[in-house]
Symmetry: C2
Subunit: 428 residues, 2 copies
Amino acid sequence: VTVQRAIARLVAEGLVETRPGAGNYLTARPEPEPADTSWQAAALGAARPSMDGGLGSGIRSVATDVIGLHTGYPSPELLPTRLLTLALHRATRDPEATLSTSPIAGLPDLRRFFADELSRACPGAVPVGEAQVLITSGGQNALSAALQGLTRPGDTVVMESPTFWGAIGAARAAGLRIAPVGTGPAGIDPGDLHDALTRHHAQVFYAQPTYANPTGVCWPDHVRADVHDVLRSRKAFMIEDDWARDLGLEASSPTPMAAADPDGHVIYIRSLTKSLSPAIRVAALVARGPAAQRITAGRWVADLYVSPLLQRTAIEAVRHPNWQRHLRLLRAGLTLRRDSLHAALTQHAPALTPAAPPDGGLSLWVRLPPGQDSTDVAARCLHAGLAVSPGQEWFPSEPDSQYLRLSYASTPAAQHEQAAHILQRICG
Amino acid sequence: VTVQRAIARLVAEGLVETRPGAGNYLTARPEPEPADTSWQAAALGAARPSMDGGLGSGIRSVATDVIGLHTGYPSPELLPTRLLTLALHRATRDPEATLSTSPIAGLPDLRRFFADELSRACPGAVPVGEAQVLITSGGQNALSAALQGLTRPGDTVVMESPTFWGAIGAARAAGLRIAPVGTGPAGIDPGDLHDALTRHHAQVFYAQPTYANPTGVCWPDHVRADVHDVLRSRKAFMIEDDWARDLGLEASSPTPMAAADPDGHVIYIRSLTKSLSPAIRVAALVARGPAAQRITAGRWVADLYVSPLLQRTAIEAVRHPNWQRHLRLLRAGLTLRRDSLHAALTQHAPALTPAAPPDGGLSLWVRLPPGQDSTDVAARCLHAGLAVSPGQEWFPSEPDSQYLRLSYASTPAAQHEQAAHILQRICG
């Protein structure tokens, strides 16, 4: 009712869009009526699946009075505001950062940071050189480049089911078929991976072994070892999307599989966007051997190079002594919110409470009671003032059950009780 | 001889890279020897043409003591340093710009700027709405998105020959065949375009009608009208890459074809990167009708969204009263350099002097005397301390003659005489 409801309707109709902390905008003046674009239907032909939407709800804006458990980014209170200001100040005073192009592969300092980080993660292994690091415009850009470099249209790529919607979209846009392997509380079954690679003549496997989005699952050591064996025996690549490297809630996170992979089976993706700022879109792709050249040679086609201003800002931030302090604060803040949302569900929506909250990431993955449809539930929640992500978005094929993804990172703990009440009312 | 020569050799061997104004860097520590990545050869399969390089020399770094007539960007003296500083200062104080995501289609203010600019270019036509504008990470990102949205692998795209190497690379990466149409002093022959679209069942034509890169050619009005007729009769799209919108040297530049195109045949690309700063990678793609949806739905796959920091900086710059003054200064500076390089060639390398210098853009397009090979000439020039771009890079198929592209925008006029002497010695 009232203004809130009116705005929600305008948002639903696409006429108004809201930005957190900045109020509501008219999305655009109404599009002028074109004279006749009907000829385009035949010229464009049928839409491919990738062109048919596929963008996850986690990236969408909602009205400011809606509780946003849908977004895939930590809220600004969890970000290193002062450190970012300092880094931006230094970067904007540097003519190299503000008036120049960047080398296609990225600024040497930033490449070295990512190389050193990965080398330190496994001291006994062959170290990673900065020549093996490619800087990209965030993780999505890296995984798009990796898929395009390692495959050709018509190939099959193996993915976890469920998995990140951005990977599903990138695979479809690259003209790939997706062969899903199910994932449970202990990750995938390496035998399933072996069979899928064999049956589909596939040579690329995309996965998030550490705090997967959306399930929060972290593969145990024996699964990682077995997967590495499968990759070797099938002569296959794995794209290890280590999206939550800075979002582990335990004192230490598992070693990336890419850290001990001398033969170059694992292509590693690691982004700073979630832990530094969504506005600083900077990530790294690490690859060994000819695969690195193949991916690098193809990447510039998408956008030539990453703004040196963003790269320099990232360098100034991660090199600052307070970066480690920020990561500790971020972990504490995320832990608080995770526990708060989990407790609120336990108390007010017991049927929706996951058995164990995840040890990393930004969200809870909640199974709906039988007979509920996640897209329908998400729509009803939004009407009631709560934005959640329907589980359907994360499945490359039919889902095994119906789920919601509830992000605890994007809202203060104070809102979690109300969110749990709404959920209980709608689908408890 | 001496240090300069030693550095040039290290650069040639890829061990050292130089950044203008920042001296020489070791490109990277030597890559650690991988244990065995030989299995990747079979896994990767044959390289596709797009994966085989194709990156233009205009983006490469050379030693600081080399005269750089190769780069595709104006040198920093021509950029609006103070205005950029101001814009960056404002953008970095805005939490919306530094701590948020951006809507996938871009910030409303920036979309409106591009919509209004295009609407003003043709007051009688149906105005462009901001809903028809998509913000991209520079022009390359826009043209990659347009090609991917409008075609599917195996399709043919028609292009001018010669044309921008980035478009050739993007087409190949999208799995497209390229049908070239030759371009002369008055642009393409619209009859050739009609025939190429018909023969190859092609529905997309990529072109730069205004100060084309590399030729500098600007299509006269009757060619534009005839091309529009061909597009209508063939029910085809044209991607109008208006890369030099801010780089016209005459008092006024031709109206973009997209400004009067109510039926949505022309997809318009317009970048700020060349006139604002190579570090602020922001461009717009304008499309009408379902084609806009098709392109928008596919674009996020490459990199989700453009940093709001870069978008806000661009808004602050182009909205500032001094922006128009900067464009006048830029035009004056480019005119001075164009005339200086043309005069130096006329005096010292008469055989290499183009008949008429272009009315816009950043470079002269120089035909080599018979028997010379442009790649060979470029290599010999680099040894002599002069970087130029071999014409071969701009041809989607065999070139009709051998050419060099000489950028006047990237070097002060004082270096042009020496450049002309080197050119005369090597290929005059």
